[in-house]
């Protein structure tokens, strides 16, 4: 499903955030991406969102080389990916409902369908009673869960999460991970960047380790279900 092939990313200014990274993930696989702060975890996820383009090497999704994807096709590609951002990136002047509805609106879903799916997603993160609140009226953890609901509301084929449990207590993180597990079970490929060691230890999952932009262990032979 996801295939990094000798991919390097040099930021303007010369800093090489990813160095010859290669790994593969099968459809329906779930893995952690870990490493110290500044190791390149967010950069790797940005490559998958086409927020950044590789300096060299290839990135293949479902066999298609994203290097050859024209800019006009980027929105269409992004609709099959769900992302939970490190800073949850909610629209503060819109309700929780409207925030979660956004990925469906941009894809042109009819209103009744949007309502049904948004409520299902909010139910999944336990925030159904907050749908008419503004994000500022929510706690950090609740905002994070709104971000998660938005990432999964359109049933993406790939789910990326950057520190999704950063603001959550262990119990809630456990629930969120269980939610991600449910998505994995219906065939979604899930990649979670985190340095939450407790979380990693509790879950028996494949672990990819980045260090200074190098993939020192792609975990392909470890914890694979």
């Amino acid at each position: 499903m996801i295939c990094f092939d000798n991919l390097s990313k040099r930021y303007p200014g010369g800093f090489e955030a990813l160095k010859n990274v290669s790994f593969e993930m099968a459809a329906g696989e779930m893995a952690f991406l870990t490493g110290h702060s500044g190791a390149g975890k967010s950069t790797l996820l940005k490559m998958l969102m086409l927020m950044e383009r590789p300096t060299s090497g290839n990135l293949l999704i479902n066999g298609k080389n994203l290097n050859r994807l024209p800019d006009s096709q980027i929105p269409i590609y992004r609709r099959q990916v769900g992302v939970v951002f490190q800073n949850h990136q909610l629209l503060l002047d819109r309700t929780v409902f409207d925030n979660v509805a956004l990925p469906l609106q941009v894809s042109g879903y009819p209103a009744n369908e949007i309502g049904r799916r948004v409520r299902a997603a909010l139910d999944g993160v336990g925030l159904l009673d907050k749908e008419q609140q503004k994000p500022v009226a929510l706690s950090g953890g609740e905002q994070q869960r709104v971000g998660i609901a938005r990432a999964v509301v359109h049933k993406p084929r790939i789910l990326l999460a950057d520190e999704p449990t950063g603001n959550l207590d262990p119990e809630l993180s456990g629930e969120i991970m269980a939610l991600f597990r449910r998505f994995q079970n219906v065939g979604v490929t899930v990649l979670i960047a985190t340095h939450d060691v407790n979380l990693i230890d509790r879950m028996q999952l494949r672990i990819m380790r980045l260090e200074g932009g190098n993939m020192i262990d792609d975990g392909a032979d470890y914890g694979r279900y």
Binding site: M1, A27, N62, I76, Y77, R79, Q80, A111, R157
Partner: protein, 330 residues
Amino acid sequence: MAATDRPREAVQRGASGQKIKLADRWRGYKSHHRDTIRISLLKMMREPVQTVMTVAVIAIALALPAALYLTVENIQRMGSNFESSAQITIYVHKEAKAETIEKLQDKLETLPTVASVTYISAKQALLEFKALSGFGSALRYLEGNPLPAVFLVQPIVLEPIDLAQTKDLVAAITELPGVDDVQIDMQWLQRLHSLTEVGHKVALALGATLGLGVLLVIGNTIRLAIQSRRDEIIIVKLVGGTNAYVRRPFLYNGVLLGLFGALTASIMLYASVWWISSSIADLADLYQSQYRLAGLGFLRFLMLMGLGGLFGLVGAWMAVSKHLKDIEPK
């Protein structure tokens, strides 16, 4: 690369393997447009000062050239009103015999562009002059009648006004036997004509200049709107919003501003015409004229609205194509 059981085209559609039915997609599209307009209106109402100021500037910039245009047009209509009363005065030779005068009258009446002919004999002319001038007693000391007989000729007036035709008529009459002199006061008509022509051009130039101003004002308002919604644009792009989707609310915003501006301009014009027209009507009645002020009219109201909307669209488009591409998620 792992195999997947989902059809490949689903990836291209990006709808996570579940296609949205075409009819649903169309319904979603329509309701999205409705929502976009509604949200644009709400956003404009949430910043009333900014909105009112922009709309007022647009309205004034549209109303000024339109008012000038209406003024010129009304002067033109007034001119053609006068033209119909532009008589040709023919002074008959003092020595002309009665039969020459009779023949002259026949000839004048058969000319193709003549509407009516009135004969005023020398005696009648003198009587009228005495009665009107108040020089009655002084004239008694004159030997005989110093006034010539006169024909008053009313030419047929064509729309649009054809000055050349009137000139030809004057030339033809001058050639007729028994005619001493022909007078027509056409100079001021000609002046009026060139004046209204200048007026039209000024209105056009003013319209073009102020139109450019409208574009810049709308462009600037949209630029500010884009900047204040930067975060939103980035998030929309990250969840798969196309450029067209991101653009749309700003284009609607521009069109709405233009339409509101044109509507306000129309109200201003209707109000001014209504305010002035009662005095004009009184004035016209004094001169026994049927002349009435011509207002904006429904057709030109629509034209003004169309123009406002178009300016709004173009201004917004300029701002959007300049500033939106800088905003990419990073």
